[in-house]
């Protein structure tokens, strides 16, 4: 489903030159699977999420990234979203003056329009929103407030999952969704994520800690270091990382 082949990417600077951050990432996430990407600070985890979703200022210099055979590089972020790509942000942004409900409905209908589908009616939207909000224990009043403005870290993360469940993307990237969440919130959020697991969907879970993977069980775990995947394995690799730290696992991989 998601295929990364020798992906090199970096941040473009004013001179147009890129500071290399990803140095040849090769990764394949088949439909129906959840893969975790773990790695130390500065290894390129967030860059990977921005490169895949097309954030301006990030540039692919070599290699390829495809979703169901569609070359993602060079597509606008909104086109990628309409094709079913979703990023749950590590730091969700505050959007003053735009209520959550207005925002998500606008996004949903923009995606539908791009795909040539009819808009979702207001009553249908409200019905779905009510169910999703209840499952995430989100106070319905929060949905009338400006997006993320004055929300706590945990509320923002919950709202990311609310958006994800409303938009029903085909491929999801969760960038450190566990940071800022207490144990109960983590469980609720993970249940939301798990509800979206399906044979037709794929997921990339970026995290520092093994803890999140107790709740969202990955099929494969990859270790990202210095912009490359240096080790891959089953869920047991995450436990090994927790015990031995990144240094040990990365040193072993270098041998």
């Amino acid at each position: 489903m998601l295929e990364l082949e020798n992906l090199h990417a970096g941040v473009s600077t004013d001179g147009g030159l890129a500071k290399a951050i990803l140095n040849g990432v090769t990764l394949s996430v088949p439909a129906g699977q959840v893969h975790a990407v773990m790695g130390p600070n500065g290894s390129g985890k967030s860059t990977l999420s921005y490169v895949l979703t097309g954030r301006p200022g990030y540039e692919v210099t070599q290699g390829s990234a495809t979703l169901d055979g569609l070359d993602l590089t060079g597509l606008d972020p909104e086109v990628r979203a309409a094709r079913g790509l979703f990023l749950s942000f590590q730091y969700p942004l505050e959007i003053a003056g735009v209520p959550v409900m207005t925002f998500v409905r606008t996004a949903m209908n923009a995606q539908r329009k791009a795909r040539g589908e009819p808009e979702m009616s207001a009553p249908d939207y409200l019905r779905k929103s009510k169910t999703v909000a209840a499952s995430l224990k989100i106070d319905p009043q929060m949905l009338s407030r400006p997006l993320n403005v004055g929300f706590s870290g945990g509320e923002k993360k919950r709202l990311e999952i609310y958006q994800m469940m409303m938009l029903e993307p085909r491929f999801m990237i969760l960038d450190e969704t566990d940071s800022g969440l207490d144990i109960d919130a983590l469980r609720i959020v993970a249940e939301g994520v798990n509800a979206l697991r399906a044979p037709t969907r794929g997921m990339l879970v970026i995290t520092h800690y093994q803890r999140l993977l107790d709740y969202i069980k990955p099929d494969r775990v990859h270790v990202l270091a210095s912009g490359r995947i240096v080790a891959s394995g089953g869920p047991e690799l995450a436990f090994r990382l927790e015990k031995e730290g990144y240094d040990g696992v990365i040193a072993d991989a270098a041998l």
Binding site: T53, R55, D76, R80, A82, E94, V104, A107
Partner: protein, 293 residues
């Protein structure tokens, strides 16, 4: 006829960003004698000056539309008596040159509310001059200005506080495109007799494109020692990180920019505004945002 020399040049402090002499050079409008404000004297000579009294305890709402003619000049003077309540709504659009001056004198415990929406013109200036003469007055002034290519939108205001215990709130939001120019000049003058004043001024502008201009001069001049006064002034570009966030959810770039700008400008539309005027104001801002830059 007015000799150009009688008009303030750009060397005059309050006119350095708004070139009145060039704007009026082709018009040769007559100007009345006297020591009134220059726009008031132009309006007086053009027969577009009126003076009104809002009697004690009464309430008055006025809608002023500007921009009907190539040169539209008008001036209004209001004497708002004790406990009276005045609401002014100023809607300016489409004039080549629009100049408007209003002077409001506030009595004890009177209330003055104002909302201005302006699209600018080749030169447009809306001036508000408030004198707080009685204790315990309330002033709420909001404005939105939109400066597209070739448009000049100038909002200039002065609040003279000469009595104690006034509450003043001013919020101005503006947006300028390439080749458009916004001007905000706001002054609160808090005299020695204006103890217990609580006054806040805020001006925030968005420069939507390279080549947009906004000039701002917020001023507080305070001679009383027991007051709360604050002003905030910003001019900047849209937050690209926020734009990416919206786009990553599937909202196209232009729509994302319009959505954030809209929300920013709508914050200066006051809650007290009548529903019909609100609909008109919102519609005009939306149309401006949708118009091709």
């Amino acid at each position: 006829m007015t000799s150009i020399d009688e008009l303030p040049s750009r060397r005059v402090e309050g006119w350095r960003w708004t070139d009145l002499r060039s704007a009026l050079a082709g018009h040769n409008p007559p100007m009345a004698e006297g020591d009134r404000h220059v726009i008031a004297r132009l309006a007086q000579a053009a027969g577009r000056m009126s003076t009104r009294v809002v009697a004690s305890g009464e309430s008055s709402v006025e809608i002023e539309r500007l921009g009907g003619a190539a040169l539209d000049v008008q001036a209004l003077e209001f004497d708002v008596r004790e406990g009276a309540d005045l609401t002014l709504i100023v809607l300016q659009a489409g004039a080549e040159t629009a100049l408007s001056h209003r002077k409001i004198r506030l009595g004890e415990r009177s209330v003055f509310r104002q909302f201005v929406l302006m699209d600018g013109g080749s030169l447009a200036r809306i001036e508000t001059d408030v004198e707080i003469a009685g204790a315990g007055a309330t002033v709420e002034m909001s404005a939105v200005y939109l400066a597209a290519a070739g448009k000049h939108a100038d909002l200039t205001s002065r609040v003279d506080l000469r009595a104690e215990g006034a509450i003043v709130r001013q919020l101005v939001r503006g947006a300028a495109r390439k080749g458009g120019r916004g001007v905000f000049q706001g002054k609160f003058h808090v005299g020695r007799e204006a103890q217990k004043t609580d006054a806040r001024m805020k001006h925030n502008a968005l420069l939507l494109e390279e080549g947009a201009e906004v000039f701002a001069k917020p001023e507080l001049e305070i001679y009383a020692d027991d007051v709360q006064c604050a002003h905030g002034n910003t001019a900047g570009q849209l937050d690209e990180a926020a734009i990416f966030y919206l786009r990553s959810r599937g909202i196209p770039d232009a729509q994302a920019r319009a959505m954030i700008t809209r929300a920013f400008l709508f914050e200066a539309i006051p809650d007290w505004l009548d529903a019909a005027v609100r609909t008109e104001a919102e519609g005009r801002i939306d149309a401006w945002l949708e118009a091709a830059p």
